[in-house]
């Protein structure tokens, strides 16, 4: 029962070789913290994105462990250095139900 989770990855800053730009990733994941209850008073099981991995040209540059304090939608913005010739940035994620996803964005110089 995996639902489609819309995600988005965008860049801010000058797309030039060697420049530091900001990559902004967000995912419209429900991020159920496990503390809330539904309308009939039953606890909603915890289901958050707990791991995010960021690969730049297939090289791991960032690993993030997320806790229940991350918002829904999740938002994470981090800097990266633009490699020569550009490349591909991949953001991989996994949630508590085992659902995985990938957001890919090309760095075009």
């Amino acid at each position: 029962m995996s639902k489609n989770i819309p995600t988005r990855l965008a860049f801010a800053g000058p797309l030039k070789e060697g420049a530091t730009i900001e990559a902004r990733w967000s995912a419209a994941h429900p991020m159920d913290s496990g503390f809330r209850v539904d309308d009939s008073g039953n606890k909603i099981a915890r289901n958050i994105i707990h791991t995010v991995k960021v690969l730049l040209n297939d090289r791991l540059i960032l690993e993030a462990d997320l806790g229940t304090a991350m918002t829904s939608p999740v938002y994470l913005a981090f800097p990266l250095q633009v490699p020569a010739g550009g490349g591909v940035l991949r953001v991989l994620w996994q949630d508590d139900r085992g659902q995985v996803g990938e957001t890919v964005q090309r760095l075009i110089l």
């Binding site: 209850v37 540059i61 960032l62 462990d65 991350m70 918002t71 981090f78 250095q81």
Partner: protein, 144 residues
């Protein structure tokens, strides 16, 4: 009856003073017990942008600007909300060689508190800074 007797006690300056002292000692012992490892660290090179007052705890934007000391790179970053049920909000492990780092994210807060950001550098050095905020509603419980 209880209230009036408390008020009477509080009006007695000696009694009030001892009560305040006891409360202060208790508060500071609580604070040190929880914060000593972090507050003992230098805050140099760790700057936080965090709203002093937020309407709700549902989405509080945090910006952390980290500057590594000379000759070192940033290796990991932790965002800690001590009053949250799960205090560790975010942990980053960096595999690049970034000397300055700007992290932007949004956090859910259970209560008014200080957010702590702890940076670990490649030379083993740890630095931490905190920023307080006041929220008017919690993010952890359902609206009532």
């Amino acid at each position: 009856m209880n209230t009036s007797s408390t008020q009477l006690h509080l009006q007695d300056p000696k009694r009030r003073h001892s009560l305040l002292m006891a409360a202060g000692a208790w508060l500071s012992s609580q604070a040190t017990a929880k914060d000593t490892p972090l507050s003992a660290l230098s805050a140099e090179g760790v700057e936080l942008v965090f709203p002093r007052l937020a309407d709700t705890g549902n989405a509080v934007p945090l910006q952390a600007n980290i500057r590594a000391p000379q000759g070192a790179n940033l290796k990991s970053l932790r965002v800690i909300l001590p009053e949250n049920p799960n205090p560790l909000a975010l942990q980053l492990k960096l595999h690049g060689d970034m000397q300055s780092y700007q992290l932007n994210t949004r956090l859910r807060l259970y209560a008014s508190q200080s957010v702590w950001v702890v940076a670990t550098f490649s030379n083993g050095l740890e630095r931490a800074n905190s920023a307080p905020t006041v929220i008017t509603s919690t993010a952890c419980l359902d609206d009532s």
